[in-house]
């Protein structure tokens, strides 16, 4: 692989990373507004406020970036980058269609999970380095939640890998069969719930719970660094939606997959992202103790059961 190719691929991944989260964010603006009987942004850019997030970005860049006096300056300043780069790296290995992928890593499933595991450090660093009580509490909550829900996610992903007999994301899509929608359903549910929790979105937004701990680990952040955390959150939705599509919905499989595969992936991922946004509007926040119980007493056993089903099924059918 030549240096030029590496550069081109990296830049394309970066472009996708900067565009797709904005699309999700704008969709959230509009979908959430309509679900609440509002219109949402209507002015920026002219047509139904399509440029609202661009305007927000410009605004964020013009805002003063305050580092609190008590904060640990370097850790405080680097935390957004850790969150951001983790999701950027995760995005780079997700395939769009057959052969179209930033980096076709052999053990793609494990790679995405590992990249997102590193992202846990972001909120934890932010929470500690702010030297703020709300931030520390939020950081603790974030890390405990991300760890607890990482496990069901790993189990559900392992079940899919088991069903496909490969760790490569492209390989999983090629092995996918519509029947998976049925016998991987518990795993899919577990994965979706865990993914929403990993994204720290409603109903699992206790780390950010604004009515309890201001804004959790992001309390002290301002300006562009705050914007980067938000970008990471929406990039997270993109990554999770694509990953869910690839693992459970068959990625680019569908009619005219040869020509329209990329469209299928995007359509399915958009549907998943829509569902994630929908959850945010429809449901209230869970309580902190319910959160951990749900993870350990519902999702983990369900994930293990799915694993058992998959294992036995695969052994019996081969």
């Amino acid at each position: 692989m030549s240096l030029l190719e590496v550069v081109v691929r990296s830049v394309v991944v970066l472009a996708a990373f900067l565009v797709l989260p904005l699309l999700v964010g704008q969709t959230e603006h509009k979908v959430m507004a309509h679900m609440q009987g509002r219109l949402g942004p209507m002015y920026a850019g002219g047509f139904h406020g399509w440029a609202q997030l661009v305007a927000d970005g410009v605004k964020f860049a013009q805002k003063e970036d305050v580092t609190p006096r008590e904060a640990d300056r370097w850790v405080f300043r680097l935390a957004p980058a850790v969150s951001l780069v983790a999701y950027l790296v995760a995005l780079s290995v997700l395939p769009l269609t057959s052969g179209v992928v930033g980096a076709d890593v052999g053990a793609g499933v494990l790679f995405v999970l590992a990249a997102m595991a590193v992202g846990i450090l972001g909120p934890l660093m932010a929470g500690w380095a702010s030297a703020n009580k709300y931030s520390l509490l939020g950081g603790m909550r974030a890390a405990a939640q991300l760890l607890s829900y990482e496990l069901p996610m790993v189990l559900a992903a392992a079940s899919v890998a088991l069903a496909a007999g490969t760790l490569s994301l492209s390989g999983i899509v090629e092995q996918w069969h519509p029947l998976w929608l049925v016998w991987q359903l518990p795993g899919a549910v577990v994965f979706l719930v865990a993914a929403v929790a990993e994204l720290q979105r409603v109903p699992f937004d206790m780390p950010m719970a604004d009515s309890e701990i201001v804004f959790g680990p992001l309390t002290e952040y301002t300006g562009l660094r705050f914007a980067f955390f938000l970008l990471a959150e929406y990039a997270g939705i993109v990554v999770m939606s694509l990953l869910f599509t690839v693992l459970f919905l068959g990625g680019w499989q569908g009619p005219f997959a040869a020509a329209l595969g990329w469209l299928w992936t995007l359509v399915k991922a958009s549907a998943v992202a829509f569902v994630v946004i929908w959850f945010r509007v429809a449901w209230p926040r869970l309580r902190e103790d319910q959160l951990q119980r749900l993870a350990w007493l519902v999702l983990v056993p369900l994930g293990l059961a799915q694993l058992a089903i998959t294992g036995v099924w695969v052994v019996l059918t081969t």
Partner: protein
């Protein structure tokens, strides 16, 4: 020197440097964060050597879980922002640690050099499938024993945490 050699050297130097920083820094949490860099670059070393699965597991377990555990423990037990003198070690301990570290390095280097010398070893068996075949075919007993080990540590940890939690809950109810 091939590209791989260059990459390995670069990653190794970063790993070693961050390891040194992690033991010399006076900020407790910084030490843990430097440990993240060390473990992450170690994963890079494994990757350059062709062990993809090991590298990814290294990131997933060590960076994503073990270091987070360490950070948790630090933050729960009062980790101040800024250098902390009370966690510092005295000169005697430092010298002792340096001697032990140098001794370990010398021993390892000696053993490895004596065993392999200047020979180039062909790497094989790094692929995930081969590793899995070995693991589930040949190393079954260590694998199963590992689960028992994990169980024991889990029960032990729960027992320790219960020592604190139980009187509390009795008081409350």
């Amino acid at each position: 020197m091939t590209t791989l050699d260059v990459l390995f050297t670069a990653v190794g130097v970063i790993a070693a440097a961050s390891a040194v920083l992690s033991v010399t820094t006076r900020h407790v949490v910084h030490a843990a964060l430097w440990l993240v860099v060390t473990l992450g670059t170690l994963a890079g070393c494994y990757l350059v050597l062709g062990a993809e699965l090991i590298a990814l597991v290294q990131v997933l377990i060590y960076v994503g879980a073990v270091v987070v555990l360490v950070l948790f423990a630090l933050m729960l037990t009062r980790a101040p922002v800024g250098p902390s003198a009370e966690h510092d070690t005295g000169p005697v301990q430092r010298v002792a640690a340096a001697v032990v570290a140098a001794g370990t390095t010398a021993l390892l280097a000696g053993v490895l050099l004596a065993a392999l010398g200047g020979r180039t070893v062909q790497i094989h068996g790094g692929s995930t499938t081969e590793l899995a075949t070995q693991l589930f075919g040949r190393w079954v007993w260590p694998f199963e024993l590992l689960s028992v080990l994990l169980l024991v540590s889990l029960v032990a940890a729960l027992a320790i945490s219960r020592l604190r939690a139980d009187p509390d809950s009795e008081v409350r109810s």
